[in-house]
Amino acid sequence: MSIARNITDLADRYDLLVVGAGPAGLAAAARAADCGLSVLLADENPAPGGQIYRAVGTTPVTRPAVLGAEYWKGGALLTRLAQSRAVLAPSCTVWSVAPDAAVGSVEIGVSLDGRARLIEAAEVILATGAQERPFPIPGWTLPGVMTAGAAQIALKSSGLVPAGRIVLAGCGPLLYLLAGQLAAAGATIVAVLDTTPRRNWRAAIAAFPDFLRSPYLAKGLALMAKARARLPFRNGVTDLSAEGEDRVTGVRVTRGGASETIACDTLLLHQGVIPGVNLSNAIGCAHEFDEDQHCWVPQVDQWFASSVPAVAIAGDGAGIGGAESAALRGEIAALGAAQRLGRLSREQRDAQAAPIRAALARSLRGRRFLDLLYKPAARFLAPPDDATIVCRCEEVTAGQIRDTASRLGVTGPNQMKAFLRCGMGPCQGRLCGPTVVELIAQAQGLSPAEVGYYRLRPPVKPITLGELAALPQSDAAVKAVVR
């Protein structure tokens, strides 16, 4: 492996660009390089690992038990990449991916250290992973309220834990895992407020046998049981709000019809993870709404190729499956790309993929149980309190969105964006999109699938006007502007 620290270190053209150096990206890049492809692996973070294996090569956390055995597995992926011939570009932002079917290549807009460049790739694998599902409750914009994932990142990459009293709230494996990790690291957890809807058990129970046959997830269950026994769990939480003036000082919690306020210094929220779809959406890949995971996912075929030629999507970005499955999906996507580029015959590709597919099926077994069990309650998807901020960037509230949907007849997120500016801020809708869709669906009596999603456009990450201005221009483009 070589590392590109400077934008001038990049070649003009690669066989394959992999976006995102989490498990899917690391595995895809290494596998593709092993197949003889020239590979660039770009990630906007300073170190590879993605979020799940965040800082696995550089973490200051020395006692392995704090982060758990699953985390350290990421080291093997880094080692494999290091032994490959792929090029890793850390702190490198991919802000545009534009396939040109006529030319048969993909034009990539990248930025590194304040300079932008356009490079080409024959194939692209998006391994941009997941983000935490927005969890809009009153007061969630107060300093001191963060996502569970954020606290986990601080722990992994910096060896930091929140000082003072911590409350965790929401549901899903990551929340319980983090609770265990924080406790092991000596942090003070005063409550874990579990919002898992009791009636989810009814839907999930049918998928339970599969879950039990999955060793990977059963391990997680053991971990969860241990955390529950030791930590101050409170189940059946039906309402939450963060309280405080200019920072969080407490959490108002309702369970079993009674409410109380729990004083805290840090509130960590989590309501599951969803694919980050901004890049695939901006490229124009077709998406569909996954009812079980209750989120938009890109449509992919069995080689994880998207609806757009030369663009594949691997890992949690193509549907949530967890770290182990993400790496396997990255390998399969790499084999698909290698075959399309003529480095593998179909037979070679299929033969190499067969054992990986078997492992993938094993790793995904039991996933559906988790999806159904931790499906968020309706009120945490679409906040009933009108004053709750939904778009954090433009400070648009649930009440404004509901009113505009019901009274002004706005039936979709794009018109809502035009009227209220939700989704127009720097996060480009990442923190409000799912909630806006949910609120419109509720107001119009539609499903989220019918409501649709924001239509996004590049740049999917901010670049400066100066960077954009310095890029090459075509004569046709000049003619279109200078008249």
Partner: protein, 376 residues
């Protein structure tokens, strides 16, 4: 005001963008019962992608009536802004502090100078004040311009609004006026029925005494159903918007303006690419480079969004206003400057439509102009 049901409408406006909304508001303010039939969330919808200028300078070369019509709307814009404040409770951030067209070469400046000269040969100079400014004078008025700005054309008539707030205010005001708004109602057929019209589509049927076609590019398809002609084609425009920054640009340029919210919009590419709305990086780069030359301090600003939209262009670029000869009561309204002309549409055109006759001053805008045999 309580909304009537759409079956009792006097007038159905097809198209719920800024053009349709302005006309519907004007109709409702004059007592008509109006229904708007609109498309859904994903539509070409130029109203979501326009540049929000209220612009007079350089408009109407080849058609003096268009210059006068634009001037008239610009003059009336503050009235419309007041109406919207009163009827929708929304400030659409209208201001007409005068606008500039910056030129980055002597050739560009000379081309503009000649265009302005020809424009003024066809109309009265007194009606269209403008100045050609050199670099020093432009710099005196716009201290942030860069060295590469050779000069500019300035007109005190020009201005801008927040076009998304305008779009919303029109929707809000028409709602409060009892206009029935029906989204996801694409009209497939229009037939004459009982002295009026029957509109149908997947949504069902709607009867109307009069109809106004304000469907943008959709007018090309609808117009022939009622004996009208709307030979409009798409012209792609791309726009870049930056993060919010402290106010520094008080006047709009034809290609750069700072919104009331603080973001800087950079726009005005024009490409004839059919219905393609893909954002093209080379075009964005040219736009960005020119913007940075005009205002070097823009270079450090982050781009937060870009988008493209389709202008509704007639063969000569001017609006089409018509009433059908074969189907009286069917009106056609189409233009690419729905923001500039919003005041006219709400305050002048709508009452004329309601009266049943377009004023003679709009004769020049009939699509009949495209059917005059060429003289050699």
């Amino acid at each position: 005001m309580a909304a009537h049901s759409s079956s009792q409408s006097d007038i159905v406006v097809i198209g719920g963008g800024v053009v349709g909304g302005a006309i519907a508001l004007g109709l409702a303010r004059n007592g008509a019962r109006v229904t708007i039939l609109d498309e859904g969330d994903v539509a070409f919808r130029a109203s979501r992608g326009n540049f929000a200028l209220v612009w007079v300078q350089s408009k109407g070369l080849g058609m003096p009536e268009y210059a006068m019509w634009s001037r008239r709307s610009a003059d009336q814009w503050s009235v419309l802004a007041d109406v919207l404040q009163e009827e929708a409770g929304l400030d659409v951030a209208h201001s007409q502090p005068g606008g500039f067209m910056l030129c980055l070469s002597e050739a560009e400046l000379e081309q503009r100078r000649q265009a302005m000269h020809r424009l003024h040969n066809q109309t009265s100079l007194a009606d269209f004040p403008y100045e050609i400014l050199d670099h020093a004078e432009t710099k005196r008025r716009l201290p942030d311009i860069g060295r590469d700005v050779v000069g500019s054309v300035y007109s005190p008539l020009d201005g801008h609004v927040n076009s998304l707030k305008l779009f919303r205010a029109l929707r809000e005001a028409t709602e409060r006026r009892g206009v029935v708004y029906r989204p996801n109602c694409t009209v497939d057929r229009i037939a004459a029925r009982d002295g009026g019209f029957l509109l149908s589509g997947a949504f069902g049927e709607i009867a109307a005494g009069k109809i106004v076609l304000a469907a943008g590019l959709g007018n090309a398809r609808l117009a022939p159903m009622v004996g009208l002609d709307a030979p409009v084609k798409p012209s792609k425009g791309q726009i870049i918007v930056t993060e919010k920054t402290a106010p520094f640009l008080h006047n709009p340029m034809v290609t750069i303006r700072q919104t009331d919210e603080g973001g800087v919009m950079i726009g005005d590419s024009q490409e004839d690419r059919g219905f393609d709305t893909v954002v093209g990086q080379p075009i964005l780069s040219v736009m960005a480079e020119r913007a940075v030359k005009m205002f070097p301090r823009l270079a450090g600003l982050n781009v937060v969004r870009s988008w493209s939209a389709l202008r509704v262009m007639s063969p000569d670029g001017f609006p089409i206003y018509d009433q059908s000869a074969s189907h009286p009561g069917a009106f056609l309204v189409t233009c690419h400057s729905g923001v500039t002309l919003a005041a006219n549409h709400a305050l002048t055109l709508a009452p004329a439509i309601l009266s049943g006759t377009l004023p003679p001053s709009l004769d020049a805008f009939s699509a009949r102009r495209f059917h005059v045999p060429a003289h050699h």
